[in-house]
Amino acid sequence: MKNFGVIKGLLKKSILLSVVSLQLVGCQTFKDKVVYAPAGDVMQNLAKEHTVPYMLGTEDLAVSCAMSEALSPLLMAFGRVTSNPDQLGVMMGLSAGACEEQRAWDNELRYLRAMRDLRPDEAEDALITQKRHLVNAAKRQFSAYNHLVNYYGEPGGECPDLDDEFDQFIWMAGMLSGLQALNNEIQSTTGIGVPKNIASKVERGTSCIDDDLWWGVPMAMKAAVWAMLPGALPQGENAWERLETAQAKGEDARVRLPNVMYAMAAFTNGKDELVKDIIRRHADQVKKHPANPEYALIDTTATLQLQALSDRLWTENTGHRTPVGGLGTFWDDKKESNVEVMELDDLL
């Protein structure tokens, strides 16, 4: 009976303690831990195991971009109640950044048309609008890069454990975001705080993943940095040869993303004829060999990025973008026809 009294006393105390602590922690914490956190875990796993692979297998970049813009706040908010969804944050930032890049491109073309038509006010307005979109793109891509850093640590030092293919894919996507953020910040001529050493860090970080497994993209990123950052090229290396090898790897895998890095490096270095050749070859390959179905979205992204470059060249020279079905052709191509021509002299 004495024991019973002790137990009763303890029970009383613990009930009192529970009531007090419940009041202290409040109802919100209960909801966070019991309701939202598991839901968040489910959402994160669903996104990781199904949504991302599903989207990668589709071809509609506009849908993926709209999804990222719309769902980012919902998915990222789960970071308040459960582990931070950093890996998803990388994908969301990269993809949502692409939406803003697309808008920036349209304004670049508007700028070019206005300059051709001698309308400087319109051109200036287009440039300002373009820069606003580039700033947004850079911010989104930089946030993607920061999610990468949160989850795996800063690229450029020791390689993190990239156990499975998903980790490696996110590592590559995060570094790509970093490079894009830096590039877009520079294009916008507005400082938003993207560290200027991302390029050097990414150059080293690409060595953490297998080049053959990832369609030559790691080497293409590395070599693009060599071609674009002064003094980055190691002795005995040739950035252009490496980019060509990466191009071939992308073609073999039918995920032709290395072509984008190759074309960007060529464009930055003023090699316009090489840019045209890369676009021609890409368009030809895409016609002949359909994309790897697992990564169709990435192959489409590469095509759209090259189309943007092609549009820039077309608009500068003709006033309009690449004609429908005309990717891989250029305004100054010599038209050759194999069809025989009839003699007209006796009809004239």
């Binding site: 916008s188 200027k196 050493n197 674009m228 002064p230 003094g231 003023g270």
Partner: protein, 339 residues
């Protein structure tokens, strides 16, 4: 019906006058090339800033065609050969086209941003136009790029005397830098803007000099490591200059571009301030006041020697001395007036 006729007549008149205006604009528009040195190329920061100037130039009747150069030497050569109507170069490279503006990067000539701003503002005035012209060239704008600092791999070297025998990555096309390095008894290791950072980071030189904007992108902190430091003393104020061939542009173009450039100063200074903020605080080495005065004196001697050799322009040195004395009138040089 009458109203309809009037509207028709009006719209025809509007269409005719619009086409006439655009016809005139088309005929008046001059197509001119602008070769821009940017170490990154067509996607680089300088190229993009210059691209923003194209609509303004168009309003003045110039359709500027921009071409990116990653090699500054080739940009200067192409400009000299007449392949570019205008060019963007560093102040030091610009010296061969205008000795006056090319001397604004003179060592120790401009101690800080405030003095630099005063000089830029002074030179934007229309009456300064005469100084901007030299032979067939005109400097159509100067953009500030911040102070040049000394980066040292071993922070124990904290006085100029200790630089003796040390290897310094030196821009070998710049006679002033070569003279300076030899003056302090250090040894010259020829370098370019593309390779000096690599030499510093891998230890093949002990010392390098660069503006703060180079610190993060070229990872100069790697060469500084645990033991290095940055001397908190402005060796010179780096700048970029737009140079135009006078006969290729209409009268007044230079002044218009200089006025436009002046609207971009704050933007340029923000870039410099952001870059300086990225430097780790522990790297800064603060020389004593006494040492600072000594260095200023030493640089003054070198400047005067280089002026007498014909490297630096006397008028530019005088303007810089006046600006320094405006800020610190009690400096002994203000009474001596040797520059």
């Amino acid at each position: 019906m009458k109203l309809l006729k009037n509207i028709k007549a009006l719209s025809v008149a509007a269409a005719v006058s619009a086409s006439a205006v655009s016809g005139v604009a088309q005929a008046d528009m001059m197509k001119r090339s602008f070769c821009v040195w940017d170490p990154v190329g067509a996607n680089g920061p300088l190229f993009n800033v210059m691209k923003s100037a194209k609509p303004s130039a168009m309003k003045w009747g110039i359709d500027l065609e921009l071409k990116a150069y990653t090699d500054e030497k080739i940009a200067a050569e192409d400009f000299k050969a007449g392949q570019c109507d205008s060019v963007l170069l560093t102040g030091t490279r610009a010296r061969e086209f205008n000795k006056f503006t090319g001397s604004l990067e003179a060592m120790g000539g401009i101690p800080g941003n405030e003095e630099m701003k005063m000089i830029l503002q002074t030179l934007t005035q229309p009456k300064a136009a005469k100084l901007m012209k030299s032979g067939e060239y005109e400097v159509a704008g100067i953009l500030p790029a911040g102070a040049i600092y000394l980066y040292i791999r071993d922070r124990n070297i904290d006085t100029v005397e200790e630089l003796q025998g040390k290897k310094v990555a030196t821009l070998d096309y710049d006679q002033a830098s070569m003279t300076m390095v030899r003056h302090v008894g250090a040894s010259v290791v020829g370098a370019s803007t593309a390779n000096f950072a690599g030499k510093f980071n891998n230890g093949s030189v002990d010392v390098a000099y660069a503006p703060a904007v180079a610190y993060t992108p070229l990872e100069l902190y790697k060469g500084l490591g645990e033991n290095g430091g940055i001397f908190d003393f402005s060796l010179a104020q780096m700048n970029f200059q737009i140079i135009a061939r006078i006969d290729r542009f209409p009268e007044g173009y230079g002044q218009k571009v200089r006025d436009y450039t002046a609207t971009r100063y704050e933007e340029a200074y923000k870039l410099v301030a952001d870059a300086e903020a990225e430097i780790k605080k522990e790297y800064w080495m603060r020389p004593s006041q006494e040492n600072l005065e000594g260095y200023s004196k030493m640089l003054q001697e070198v400047r005067i020697a280089l002026r007498d050799e014909g490297v630096y322009d006397a008028k530019a040195l005088r303007l810089m001395r006046k600006v320094r004395c405006k800020k610190n009138p009690t400096n002994s040089e203000c009474a001596e007036k040797r520059e």
